[in-house]
Amino acid sequence: MVRTDEQLMAAVAAGDRGCLEELVRRHHAPMFGFFYRSLAGDRATAADLVQETFIRLLRTASFEADRPFRPWLYAIAANLVRDHLRSAGRRPAEFGEQLLAAIDPGPGPEAIALGADTARQVGVAIASLPEEYRVTLVMRFGAELSLAEIAAALEIPIGTVKSRLSVGTRRLRDALEGIR
């Protein structure tokens, strides 16, 4: 019989390492996808944040093990995305980064706009979205969370989730059309 995420989490809270492994293997790829999309294709940071999500989950495991698992997991993940984007926005580009940007042989914004590969275009379009729309879209269309799960994870009403999805999909379409 397949155990639910909540049952596995309760076992993890009791110290069961086997259940932790099962839980991580079950959710690693979806979580990785969530961060990869939310961070517009930043693979290295996605890997770091997946690990940080599970670490935070373990820290609170004994207090909240009976919470619905997916909204709990993605609540942590959404907070990490928010923190990362805010700190990245505040941090001034270091000299090394400025130098790399100056000599980067990769395609610049103009080249991307003129038709670099689709994945890169999608990454640029996602990066142009405000964080709240980005996270909500990725939760629904990437991680396939239900509206109720998204509402629980972000602690907002379902109506707000629908409104963010409605505005977010239009903005994503506009961003993609602008790049293409």
Binding site: Q7, A10, A11, V12, A14, G15, D16, R17, L20, E21, V24, R25, H28, A29, F32, G33, Y36, R37, G41, R43, A47, V50, Q51, F54, I55, L58, T118, A119, Q121, V122, G123, A125, I126, L137, V138, R140, F141, G142, E144, L147, V161, K162, S163, L165, S166, T169, R170, L172, R173, L176
Partner: protein, 278 residues
Amino acid sequence: MNDDRLRSALDEFGMSGIELDELLPSVRALAEFSVQPSPLETDVLVAALIRRVRPPSEVRLAVHRRHRSWAGRLASTACLIASQAAVIHRGFWIGSAAVGALAALAVAQTSLTSTFVVYMAGPLLAYLGVALGFRAERLRAVEYELACPPTVRQLTLARLALILGYQVAVGLCLSVALSIANKAPLPNTAVLWLGPLLLGVGATLGLSFAMPLVRAATVVYAAWLTLLAVAARTGVDTTLTSTSTVLLTAIAGGLAIAVAIALLPRLVPAMLARAEPS
């Protein structure tokens, strides 16, 4: 997510018709914009996280296993209620019953109306509940359990210290009284009592690995009484109660307790599994 599911997801928040068709390529691109972590990355993550998990407590694991079935949860709830009943001061039970009886008496024997009596008795019962019922709060039992998740060995040592400490104190009082009454030296009287006690506790702990604790204690005590009876009939009772024999008994009991404590963590999972409801 395939196109049908994407369409239904768009439909959930009111997209339809031409606009839905216009938005579909964008959300499809978003859904397809992903990479899979390699199996090696997953293995590395699992290894890193497993190092952060506390070593599993056998007691917690056994409790968790027990909670998987509804029968186990029911049994645990019954145990919890019984344990809570045990920490409630008996004054609560007696006091509440007394208040109830007095209230009934007041209604039967006086001109007071039952409403008036209930108005008087109800808050009094509540007061008794708060004043006497929460002895566990003073004992800090909940705080202790939350702050110090105990290991099997800690629990055993704590309970042994409590039970043996109390029994030794009682025994010493008894020994003092007996030594004064019989004009016998106190150490001789004390060791006469302490030796069989330690042996009894050690043997009970040892047997409890194979049978329920109460049964183990009964078997040990019955065996001790049988030994005394046989010794009395065969005339070796003076040997049995000699100082050297009693000292040996005390040492054997102490060793049995030490061995039982050392073995307990390894044997407890099997004991708990045996205690699970079928």
